[in-house]
């Protein structure tokens, strides 16, 4: 197991090199004069020269790349052109709402998707199966942000529990403060969770159904039924447990999709997350923030995939740690 994780980590090196190179090209090679990008927009010739010297833009590209890599490894992603704050601090601040949004949506998707998939697989070709699968197809066909808008129109408002938009952070000052902040947090987050989670729920429902149907044809399921076990017990304890493995493999990609799909949901609900920050940065031509955020998300995806791979190997003894 240790060597498996180590090997996976070593495999990551070329991937990380590729990602950082892409980020470097986007930042320093494509713009023409990167000094004009890094300096404030009103900069005169002298400030541009200073910026060039500070970032070593007069040196060869390979040296620049290595310097960029060195700074990135130390957590120095540059300074935002708009707010002049360090990019790393901005990203860290904006990442929490996005992560809360994505994890909540994932939880919602797992509960809804797996339930629908199990109901479908338990009675294949029944009307319930047809209804679940049609809803799943409709779920992948909806523009998520439109769903968010319609939910907001239908459910949110000044008199409703659901807040129209915005974000309320959790506070951990004391039990009273926490309860109050949690209520505000939920009133802002439930609709975004549903909005963002629907597509993933639909994907998981289809996957659970096909995986479970295949498992339910196995001999040990017939044995379990022959023993006289209750049907739900057969399906959940003997069937679903074995059908979960392919579902675990897509969870990594799902979380990555949710973290980046959050851009649209954050826009609809005005949540100050990472996706919103990227878009505002693009709008304001703030390339240090754009590149930093892309780099940060890429690293997150790589880490999530690694965790899922390890989890998969740990869950299924048949997977060899090679």
């Amino acid at each position: 197991m240790k060597t498996f994780i180590l090997r996976r980590l070593l495999n990551l090196l070329p991937v990380l090199a590729g990602i950082s190179l892409a980020a470097f090209v986007m930042m320093y090679v494509l713009p023409g004069d990167p000094a004009a990008v890094l300096a404030p927009q009103s900069a005169d010739a002298e400030t541009l020269a200073q910026t060039r010297a500070r970032y070593g833009l007069d040196r060869p590209l390979t040296a620049q790349y290595l310097a960029f890599l060195g700074r990135a490894l130390r957590g120095d992603l540059g300074v935002s052109v708009r707010s002049e704050q360090p990019v790393a601090a901005i990203l860290l601040d904006r990442f929490w709402p996005t992560l809360q949004l994505a994890l909540g949506a994932l939880a919602f998707a797992i509960v809804l998707g797996v339930t629908a998939g199990v109901l479908s697989a338990a009675r294949p070709r029944s009307w319930l199966d047809a209804a679940c699968m049609f809803l799943a197809l409709a779920g992948v066909s909806l523009p998520v942000f439109w769903l968010g808008m319609m939910l907001m129109i239908a459910l949110a408002g000044p008199e409703s529990f659901f807040a129209v938009s915005g974000y309320a952070p959790l506070r951990f000052g004391g039990p009273g403060e926490f309860a109050a902040s949690a209520s505000a947090f939920l009133s802002h987050m439930i609709l975004p969770w549903v909005t963002l989670g629907v597509v993933t729920a639909a994907v998981l429902a289809r996957l659970t159904r096909s995986s479970l149907i295949e498992i339910l044809e196995r001999d040990y399921i017939r044995t379990a039924r022959a023993k006289g076990l209750a049907e739900w017990r057969v399906i959940v304890r003997h069937g679903l447990r074995n059908a979960l493995l392919p579902i675990v493999t897509v969870l990594g990609a799902s979380l990555a999709g949710l973290l980046s799909g959050a851009v649209l949901t954050e826009t609809v609900f005005n949540i100050p997350g990472l996706g919103r920050e990227i878009l505002d940065a693009i709008e304001g031509r703030d390339y240090p923030v754009v590149v930093g955020a892309v780099l940060w998300l890429a690293l997150t995806f790589v880490a999530v995939n690694l965790i899922v791979d390890v989890l998969y190997a740990a869950l299924d003894p048949r997977v060899k740690y090679e």
Partner: protein
């Protein structure tokens, strides 16, 4: 943006059109057999009808639209759906139904162009990788891996940002770059199998040049999976265009695209629900149509894979 899953490598190949399995007693060709199978799929047919209606709406928008899409109607500001305006009137007093019809043109044009880019790039890359093998294959497939490692929407945003200008071209090129890797993988695996077939060996032995082998023997046999994937990509690209336009980095006003209409409706939506409801329904219905059509075509063109 959901990319269609890569599929296993096999489909209807005329290579085995002569066997009892795929040849009907009446001597029908593979295309006719596929049509016969497709006709039996109710969902696929429904998808085909939806797609046909949407394409017609886009083509005939100038004749179907009851009002101009870009001019205010003087006496009806912010009105809901009524007899004169079935889908209501937007914040600039423009008829929403006319804009939805014209929006079909822009949305479908962008999605078609994006799909064309993805198909051209993906087929070229897949054939090259599969036919030449070795380091060419390795290089192309690692590039495909890199492109598919990122979720579509983020990749599209990053590519749009890298262009540093905004235009319709940027939008469909960005979406095309998101979609090509799926096609490349499918075409490559298809070519890898076909390359070993006797009819290809025979063509090479007869002195056919690589270009002839590729265009005459390999590509026609990849057509089925490419059509299926391209149909599913259309669905993804319509969603993609809508998403990018909604975020303000896609189609620019005053051209109405469905995503752009949703973006414009956002500030007034709590009061004017119809401005938001109808463009979104148009997107959902069209995407559903392409998804159903794609699934139906998959079953019809490839009887051996059952979904």
């Amino acid at each position: 943006m959901n990319r269609p899953e890569p599929r296993p490598a096999h489909s209807d190949r005329p290579a085995d059109a002569g066997t009892a399995e795929t040849r009907s007693p009446h001597g029908a060709g593979p295309a006719r057999m596929a049509w016969r199978r497709f006709r039996r799929s109710r969902m696929g047919l429904a998808g085909g009808v939806i797609v046909a209606v949407m394409l017609l709406a886009a083509l005939l928008a100038p004749w179907l639209a009851p009002y101009p899409y870009d001019e205010p109607i003087m006496d009806s500001f912010g009105e809901g759906p009524c007899a004169a305006h079935w889908m209501g009137v937007d914040q600039n007093a423009r008829d929403v139904m006319s804009r939805v019809l014209y929006g079909a043109r822009v949305s479908l044009q962008v999605a078609l162009a994006a799909t064309a880019v993805a198909v051209a790039l993906g087929v070229a890359a897949g054939v090259t990788a599969g036919y030449f093998g070795r380091w060419v294959d390795e290089a192309i497939m690692r590039a495909a891996d890199a492109f598919s490692a990122f979720p579509g929407i983020l990749l599209a945003i990053a590519i749009t940002a890298a262009f540093r200008t905004r235009s319709l071209t940027v939008v469909f090129v960005a979406l095309g770059l998101v979609g090509w890797s799926t096609l490349a993988r499918i075409v490559r695996s298809q070519v890898l199998v076909l390359r070993e077939e006797d009819f290809v060996t025979a063509a090479v032995a007869l002195g056919a040049r690589p270009a002839r082998v590729v265009f005459r023997h390999l590509l026609p046999n990849c057509l089925g999976p490419v059509i299926v994937t391209a149909t599913l990509l259309m669905a993804g690209n319509i969603l993609g265009e809508a998403g990018l336009s909604f975020l303000g980095i896609g189609v620019e006003p005053p051209r109405p695209s469905w995503g752009l209409m949703l973006a414009e409706a956002r500030s007034k939506m709590m009061l004017n629900w119809w401005m938001c409801a109808f463009p979104g329904l148009a997107i959902a219905l069209t995407v559903l149509g392409f998804n159903l059509l794609g699934d139906g075509l998959r079953d019809a063109l490839d009887p051996r894979t059952k979904t």
